[in-house]
Amino acid sequence: MFSVVICDDSLVARKQVAKCLPDDWDVSVHFAKNGSEAIELIGEGKGQLLLLDLNMPVMDGYETLKVIQQQGFATRTIVISGDIQPEAHQRVESLGALAFIHKPVKPDTLLGLLKQHGLFDQQSESEEELERLDPAIRDCYQEISNIAMGQAGDHLARMLNVFVELPIPNVNLIEMSELHMMLTDIEEKETVSGICQGFVGPGVSGEALFIVSDSGVGELAAILGLSGDIDDRAQLEVLMDAANILIGSCLNGLANQLDLHFSQGHPMVLGQHYNIRDLINTNKVRWRRTLAIELSYGLEGFRAHCDLLLFITEESMNIMNAKLAHLLED
């Protein structure tokens, strides 16, 4: 995903610049307090666009531009500074900056420049992402997910004795950075608990992630008839029971339709009462593009929501497509 680094020593200025980015621009934003921090981020492959202040401690904007030139980084830079001297303007442009904006920056000015330099067109990146997944294949995955999800919902309903509201499965190809946003969407404020479990069949592998909000766990415990003090261990019991049913049944459903058998690894607790973004922070680097199947189960009469996410590696899709060829033919 396109990454923007905002570099300014003032927190207020960083926030103000971030607010001026177009609302529907699907980018990840990183912050740096000085040039040296910005260079570090760029070195990590972030910051296709750098919004740079000039006067900062440690390494100022001019030095930063020099380092970018010397190191040959592909970063494109727009300088945002309170320094209105014409010479400052000339100097940064000679150091390779695309443009110079005076503080305080206004959304329209920034938008104009982004468009002018082809950095932003109204169509968001996520829409382009979807197009990369052939609609016929996407339909096909959606259909098999639907069937698997129905079975899993039925099993959950039988365990809990409540009516389970079935979701429409959401099938997407997602990038690592998009996972963070997807997870943030699931639970904006509440803390959550999660279970993840690897699964593997011949040529197909992936990971299931089961997420329930803390209030949801409490409700599930009540539905299951657990009374008294619901401590962490009791919550884990509830979480595991629900995860076992949903993950197991969904995988069984998918495996039957794909005519293969999945082995399941032992589930891992991702930590109870974490903020959802912290849940996935560990293996960032190893994430690639994956097929994500999102299922969100609701329970009639309750606020509890369980989210089941199935991530399937991109390589697995070849095998799956072959197995599903009969569905794709006509």
């Binding site: 099993h155 365990m159 595991m240 049913i245 197991g248 399941q264 032992h266 891992m268």
Partner: protein
């Protein structure tokens, strides 16, 4: 041909006997039908002794209702069930595999319950698998206590 099949069967039996995972087959009354070498060694009970006896009578430490709740989806929904050591440290109390250098007294266990679907499509028995995860559990507990100690030190320094 028949000779080969017998030999293959013999190999499979040897594997089941020697694999370092506890393998038990339970029928619908939770009576033991199969008991492999791992189970025999750690419990000290011979297969002939446990055969057709109820798991709950053999091991009174198992909470009967709790275990039945875990096994219900396996029998009725043909769904695998997993129990991890964080939920309950062990199902059957076995001593640590390393009695001398091991830091924990007991063996921490991860449990898998798998349905065994008969040719008629019914689940008349389930397979209970016991994995020794003592080292993982001890490592995680040590890490957690280090983190607690570290936080306390940091708080004291203000």
């Amino acid at each position: 041909m028949q000779q080969e099949e017998i030999q293959e069967f013999h190999w499979m039996m040897t594997l089941l006997q020697n694999v370092d995972v506890g393998l038990v087959v339970l029928d619908r009354d939770y009576k033991v039908k199969v008991w492999n070498g791992f189970m025999e060694s750690h419990s000290g009970l011979l297969p002939s002794h446990v055969r057709d006896k109820s798991l709950f009578e053999l091991f009174t430490e198992i909470d009967r209702d709790w275990f039945k709740r875990k096994a219900w989806p396996v029998f009725e929904l043909r769904n695998r069930a997993f129990i991890i050591w964080e939920q309950t440290p062990y199902l059957i109390r076995f001593p640590n595999y390393r009695p001398i250098t091991g830091s924990e007294e007991v063996m921490y266990q991860n449990i898998t319950l798998s349905p065994i679907v008969s040719p008629t499509g019914n689940v008349d028995a389930i397979c209970l698998m016991i994995y020794d995860v003592t080292d993982v559990a001890a490592g995680k507990k040590a890490l957690e206590s280090t983190q607690v100690a570290l936080n306390e030190t940091l708080e004291q320094r203000g």
